[in-house]
Amino acid sequence: MSSRYTFGGDEHIFVEVDEEMSLEAFFVSLSMTNAVRNANIKGVTEICPANASFQIKFDPDVIHPDDMMKELKRLEAQTEQGDNLLETRIVEVPVYYQDPWTYETLMRFRDRHQDPNATDIEYAASINGYDSVEKFIEAHSGAPWFVSMVGFVSGLPFLYQMVDRSRQIQVPKYLRPRTDTPRQTIGYGGTFTSIYSVRGAGGYQMLGITPMQIFDPEQRLSYLKDFMVFFKPGDIVKFKPVNREEYDAAIAQVRAGEFMPRIRNVRFSLSEFNADMDGTNAKLMEALYDH
């Protein structure tokens, strides 16, 4: 892995850590963006980590683009990758898979889909070699996920599953993007799960929906009081399948302003994870469920 530095016009530097996605590349992106933030470089206006890359926006009237470039490369040389420790939190996100709302939506856009005779989740299960949708849901909700990027639109997280590459689910995006996606849809595109923070256009396959609001400019719910966007890169997520009754109960709690997801603070080590993925994930589950 050797980072590629390039300018995005005269106000951005874009750094591609790796062409392909991996937790290693994501950790470099996260540690580099943290290093840039801590360095307090004059002229830096935006620091954006992404899956396997990151981007810095700066004011070229304050710092010359060449100097900004030098500064970033200097930081990269200084930033120790070490054992890749991360103090973070694990969050349980309830998911009503195969819900009626994303079903209604996907039926309206069958002409834009690879397999018009299957639903999105049936298609995703079948091309990944799962015998049934239930087995697919087991895999999707079994191992936890890393929030590896927040963006596209307001507070939308991209999540990457914490499993060996051979177990990664891969699903192409729609042939042509939909013009509609229900708010809080659980989507899948490439190797990423997304949670649509707002209603709108989208190209990811629709697997289900969560009752948990993750973006609210009014900040009505207690877990959105600090900021209107819930997720940040580095968060760990465990999806929990729920049925219609549980979904409705959670929605009622959200409406009453009382919903609160299960959240625990955890320490994550990438080296430990790479040495024993299932063991590390099991420990994360113990932390989440207070075992």
């Binding site: 016009g9 996605m21 899956n51 890359s53 990664q168 595109g189 707002v198 709108g200 940040k232």
Partner: protein, 324 residues
């Protein structure tokens, strides 16, 4: 003190200079697409350059005023009228209580900026009044302006001269054909040398799908990609990359066919390669391009980009000088 919206025009939104600092969470800076035009309009009516005004596209709103005040319209040539009497753009004029500001047909450009003495004082979200409808931030309860809205105005703290104007030489508008200067970079290496040349040789046209998020262009030759085995997680199409950040002004070309230049309400990231970015000095002009306008992309290096940026800053300084 308020102004009453009788009709809204097209895509009329409250905009100031935006809310930088939240792009890493998918919240774009927003703000006036043509920043120079908004700043100038504000200076004409004695406001701070970053006061909130209205941005309208092609068709202006009808606004009823409830007190005597000063107004200025900059940006596109969309002639203003007060109770039906013509007024000049780029010029401060008085509107009296009870009078109605309306607009004639568009002559050139695409977006006007309406500055009103005292500025619009709707609530701020994350430090800005700019409308970002996708995230229901700023604007009127997070949305564009609608008929029936009453927009609150601030107190004006400066006396303004009726008839104050910006000399013609300092009024910026797009040329026809328009030229947008581009610094190649980002995933420039993904397209063939032939495609790199074609992109700058061809004349493109502004497509109908243009908004604050981005401008789409059509008519040039399809870009061919350098062959490769697609990286893990990037997606099968050669124009796909592992989802990454999108710079403002970056030019993505899904499937190699229609370039999209991201603007002030940019999506902050996604899975399409970008061949470079429009330089900061030319971003304002994009907001003034009408559909079907022929456009040439012109290749520049960083030195030229910074020189152009300086030149634009000089124009703004001259405007400040004239209006001070």
């Amino acid at each position: 003190m308020t102004i009453n919206v009788i009709s809204a025009g097209i895509a009329t939104t409250i905009q100031d200079l935006g809310r930088p600092g939240y792009y890493h969470l998918g919240i774009p800076m927003s703000g006036a697409m043509d920043r120079l035009a908004l700043k100038t309009a504000n200076l004409l009516v004695g406001n701070d350059e970053g006061a909130a005004g209205l941005e309208s596209v092609f068709v202006g709103p009808e606004l009823e005023f409830t007190r005597d005040t000063t107004v200025a319209i900059c940006g596109a040539e969309l002639p203003p009228k007060v109770d039906g009497e013509p007024r000049d753009t780029w010029t401060a004029f008085t509107v009296k209580a009870g009078q109605v500001l309306s607009f004639d047909f568009l002559k050139s450009g695409a977006r006007i900026y309406i500055a009103i003495s005292g500025g619009i004082t709707t609530p701020m979200h994350l430090g800005s009044r700019s409308t970002y409808a996708i995230g229901t931030l700023g604007g009127v309860n997070g949305r564009p302006v609608q008929p029936g809205d009453s927009l609150p105005l601030g107190k004006s703290n400066k006396t303004v001269k009726d008839g104050l104007l910006v000399p013609k030489a300092l009024r910026r508008g797009p040329s026809n054909p328009a030229e947008l200067r581009v610094l190649p970079g980002l995933y420039w290496h993904r397209i063939t040398e032939q495609a790199q040349n074609n992109f700058f040789e061809d004349t493109w046209k502004v497509a109908n799908e243009t908004d604050r998020m981005g401008y789409r262009f059509q008519g040039g030759r399809k870009l061919e990609f350098v062959e490769r085995e697609q990286p893990f997680s990037a997606g099968a199409d050669p124009s796909n990359i592992t989802d990454a950040c999108y710079p403002y002004g970056s030019i993505q070309v899904p499937s190699g066919s229609e370039p999209i230049v991201l603007h002030r309400d940019a999506v902050s990231g996604g899975g399409y390669f970008m061949l470079g970015a429009v330089i900061s000095a030319d971003m304002d002009l994009i907001g003034q391009l009408q559909p079907n306008t022929p456009v040439r992309f012109v290749k520049v290096d960083m030195e030229a980009a910074l020189a152009a940026r300086k030149e634009q800053a000089t124009i703004m300084d001259e405007i400040r000088e004239v209006l001070s």
